[in-house]
Symmetry: C2
DNA sequence: GAATGATGTTATCATCGTTAACAATGTTAT
DNA sequence: ATAACATTGTTAACGATGATAACATCATTC
């Protein structure tokens, strides 16, 4: 039998299927969103049969969960890189970095926080990865509070406010809901500043702080 | 031919397919999320063939868009019902109503703001419905500003901040990301209050307001 | 060198959104 | 009244998806 007619495939086993599937899926996610990820198409592109993927991923959702985990880890790294020397600047920069991450990777960010596609409590690694990113934000706030830059108040309250603000701003800008959706960093900075300094007119600042 | 053997269906035409489909789809959405909406299952439950639905809805996405429209209209009505006499109270109440709407109808809210399932600019009625709800929030802020309760600043900035805050808080609580996800109204009130009064310690309040 | 477990393959199922071709019904003009 | 037309249903079928079962191949280990 001439060599030319032998099947081209050298090895029956692929050798690196999980890693390559993860990588390719991540690229498809970033370019076309999670809905565009099809296990069949994925397998075909890699040159492997579709059920082979099920040897490495329990199901489609688990694959998506892994992608979201890498997303949270990337976000955490970016947040850890901000300078923490000056409390005010650190708080603002944390917000800037957070929102710009969402704007750089909108599809990845949507997957990370798409409550309906990746329900909480189902993928433990995902939950801990999310906690990890959240922790950086909370630590920054706690530091500012310990230094006395921020009001004494329940840490959970300030954290909830800050996270809600940057998360909401991220979500609204990447979905085009905000009129000034130019993704302008100055919008983010202005919004974060409002949370720090407040929105009241000067003459209203210290009268009627009871809610 | 005895009457008992005649087909039970009285009329060939259904008569109210669009309305009934909309209603049933809305119930399924509210209980099981948008992913659970299948046109085939919908048609079967109504007692009609699947392609019949395409006489009234261009495709599945258009049906979902109609559901989201009703969601925005419901949200707008709730927001319009808050008392606007006192500016501070109005601002806080707007936030409370907004977040509690999301918590009452998490699946509907997720559909309304699920950027990947209902892309912006594709369904005009959806975009205008969204604008309508947003307008109430903006009007409330503009009113507070005109009275002098709120700092003079670009309206778009304050609006972006307020909307980001309540939207982010809604999203995070309904997806269980916030530790104190008890949906406690006091959390919302505290968070909105922070945006109004600011987060700085008293001794920091009026020094270094430059960003 | 046989047994074993990991990792692929093919075959198959159920489901889905969607379209095409056709049938029944309601409406309107002649 | 009836012929033409528009509306709204029907069945049949296509292509794609996630998922499972049964079987094949390969690497490793006793």
């Amino acid at each position: 039998m001439p060599d030319g007619l032998k099947p081209l495939k050298v090895s029956y086993h692929h050798g690196d299927l999980p890693q390559q599937a993860h990588q390719l899926a991540l690229e498809i996610l970033r370019e076309h969103g999670d809905a565009a990820i099809s296990l069949r198409a994925l397998a075909k592109q890699i040159g492997v049969s579709a059920p082979a993927l099920y040897r490495h991923f329990i199901d489609r959702e688990s694959l998506l969960a892994e992608l979201a985990v890498t997303g949270f880890e990337a976000l955490r790294e970016r947040l850890l890189a901000v300078d923490q020397s000056a409390p005010r600047r650190a708080l603002i920069d944390i917000g800037l970095v957070y929102v710009s991450f969402a704007q750089d990777e909108p599809n990845l960010y949507r997957l990370m926080f798409g409550g309906r596609v990746l329900p909480k409590g189902v993928h433990p690694r995902l939950d801990t990865a999310g906690k990890g990113a959240f922790q950086v934000l909370e630590d920054t706030i706690a530091r500012a509070q310990k230094v006395g830059y921020i009001k004494p108040m329940p840490l959970a309250l300030m954290t909830a406010a800050a996270w809600s603000l940057v998360h909401g701003l991220s979500q609204l800008t990447i979905d085009g809901h905000l009129p000034s959706a130019d993704a302008a960093p100055q919008l983010t900075e202005g919004v974060v500043t409002l949370l720090l300094d407040g929105s009241l007119a000067d003459n209203e600042q210290h009268k009627d702080t009871t809610t």
